[in-house]
């Protein structure tokens, strides 16, 4: 079910400021692609182009092509609702819906798209919570608010919420930035499981994390992709001296 994501000659402006410059990148299905680079280099913007979340804010202009599966995402006639169902997103700060219970947080997308009715909703919620290894921890308090969970549990709840609408691609924007090391480890385990069935593109500040979980790494600097390569190779031998400087801690 996973779909590959291809970005070709993507440029992005916010007002007069160019955030992305002629970016090209291809994320294979059933692989984790890590985007690394210093703060403000455009990683998050690149992620938000893929599910068109950038359109929530005015002042953006965009050129180039992004293909998810076989569909050009930037085509103005595309079904945005369907695109965002296929391309799920996990945010830097866990954002469970505070007015909904743990159960209803996971069911939110199912109900939104009418993916199941009655008994089936509960089955789907349970299976998603099991996939993110949260079921055992919450099965006795499914009716409590999602925000009462620990921050690490909240992020797994958000993962379950996204899983529930059956996406093909996962976009993750520094999903562990606000988590402690143990919670981070659990999310990383989940990502390693997820990529067997999904395409994962993850923004991270943590180079060790990129090395641990990704198959491909792209180094982004000032809105440009400086270097893309297999993670295993890139961390041993970089082709670009700027990547070398970043990875060895001379920059960033």
């Amino acid at each position: 079910m996973a779909e590959s994501v291809t970005v070709e000659n993507l440029s992005f402006w916010f007002g007069k400021q160019q955030v992305l410059k002629d970016v090209s990148l291809s994320a294979q299905a059933r692989e984790v692609t890590a985007l690394i680079g210093p703060s403000g280099c455009g990683k998050t913007t690149l992620l938000r182009c893929i599910n068109r979340l950038y359109r929530l804010y005015s002042g953006a202009s965009i050129t180039g092509k992004i293909t998810v599966g076989t569909e050009n995402v930037l085509d103005p006639h595309i079904d945005q609702v369907e695109l965002r169902r296929r391309v799920g997103m996990i945010f830097q700060k866990p954002n469970p819906f505070p007015h909904l219970s743990i159960f209803e947080n996971v069911a939110a997308g199912i109900r939104l798209h009418g993916l199941a009715q009655g008994r089936e909703v509960a089955e789907r919620v349970e299976s998603c919570l099991k996939k993110v290894a949260l079921w055992e921890e919450v099965k006795d308090r499914l009716d409590r608010p999602g925000t009462m969970l620990s921050i690490g549990q909240q992020q797994r709840l958000c993962l379950a919420r996204t899983l529930a609408v059956e996406p093909r691609v996962f976009l993750m924007d520094e999903p562990c930035a606000s988590l402690d090391p143990v919670s981070t480890m659990r999310i990383e385990e989940l990502i390693r499981e997820l990529h067997k069935e999904y395409t994962v593109i993850i923004v991270t500040h943590n180079m060790q994390q990129a090395a641990r979980i990704s198959q491909q790494t792209a180094f982004v600097l000032n809105g440009e992709v400086v270097e893309v390569g297999r993670t295993a190779e890139m961390f041993v031998r970089t082709r670009d001296e700027r990547t070398e400087a970043y990875l060895t801690g001379k920059m960033g």
Binding site: S58, V81, L112, R161
Partner: protein, 314 residues
């Protein structure tokens, strides 16, 4: 010394200065309550609780029952709330969620400006613009087509319950809009983004995220507006027709507690005066309770929204 002694004097003096200002304010509230209560005492002693339910208000016979005024107050305020509520919350949704970004700030500013228009100006507008329209167009139409219902029975004379309610609607609309918009803005954008990222449309984000997370605040805004409508005196007095009878038709003239006080205070003495004080006391208690509830609700929503953010950042 590096620190001039004047600063030290200020440092010791300033807390006392501000504390006494705050104490003065509390004393003032207590003083008002005391004066109103003292003024109301003879009437309270004479009529007791029956004052609230008696329907005859007759200064000639020196008999005073507040039911017409209290009922008039409740009907005009609730009708105004029913008209202004949907309109104000709808405008707030537009300003907070749907309007193009360049329009949001200026439009919100204009709405807040409306709140600064003195209510007597609205009253003038109601008397010279709205009342004639009511008499010849809207009221006449209601009388002609729905006049068989007691609640729309004529004659349509221009001033009355409906005209007062429409003026009140305009008086409280900015309050509802401005506060509702504010509590909707307090819903963290991460929640909106989370819902959009699941594939929600704008309407689904509004109905499933924004409204549920701001509903207590919106309720608070409605209560605050209700308090304002109940206490509004001048604008209402000018357009309600001032008749001491229980209103049976929306087109009939009536009286509210505030308009009765405005109308009769200059010529009242003895028990009449005391009855007006008692009416004022009733008004004061009702608005105090409603406003306290409203402030608490708005405070709680902001607190909750802020709390959600803090939990996010932990």
């Amino acid at each position: 010394m590096a620190c001039p002694s004047g600063d030290k004097v200020g440092e010791g003096f300033f807390p006392y200065l501000t504390a006494s200002a705050a104490a003065l304010l509390l004393l003032l509230v207590a003083g008002i309550l005391l004066i109103v209560f003292r003024g109301a005492w003879p009437a309270l002693h004479t009529f007791g609780l029956a004052f609230l339910f008696e329907t005859v208000w007759n200064p000639v016979a020196d008999v005073y029952g507040a039911a017409p005024a209290i009922l008039g107050t409740i009907i005009t305020s609730l009708l105004a709330l029913a008209l202004a509520g949907p309109l104000g919350v709808g405008t707030a949704i537009f300003l907070s969620e749907l309007a193009p970004l360049w329009l949001r700030k200026p439009a919100s500013f204009v709405v807040e400006l409306l709140a600064a228009v003195p209510s007597i100006v609205y009253g003038l507008w109601g008397l010279f613009v709205l009342a004639p329209i009511m008499r010849t167009v809207l009221g006449a139409w209601l009388e002609r087509n729905l006049g068989f219902l007691p609640m729309f029975q004529g004659p349509s004379i221009g001033v009355g319950v409906l005209t007062a309610s429409v003026v009140l609607t305009i008086v409280i609309l900015p309050t509802i809009t401005a506060i509702s918009r504010e509590v909707m803005r307090a819903v963290p954008s991460e929640l909106r983004e989370g819902m959009y990222a699941l594939g929600a449309t704008r309407w689904e984000v509004i109905s499933r995220i924004v409204l549920p997370n701001s509903k207590t605040g919106i309720l608070g805004a409605l209560l605050l507006a209700l308090g304002r409508a109940i206490g509004e005196a001048m604008a209402v007095t000018m357009v309600i027709g001032n008749a001491n009878a229980i209103p049976t038709s929306f087109l009939a003239p009536a009286q509210t507690a505030a308009s009765q006080i405005v109308n009769e205070f200059p010529e009242a003495f003895d028990l009449h005066l005391s009855s007006l004080f008692l009416l004022g006391l009733v008004l004061l208690v009702i608005t105090l309770v409603i406003n306290a509830g409203a402030v608490w609700l708005v405070y709680r929503t902001k607190q909750n929204a802020g709390g959600a953010l803090i939990r996010h950042e932990r």
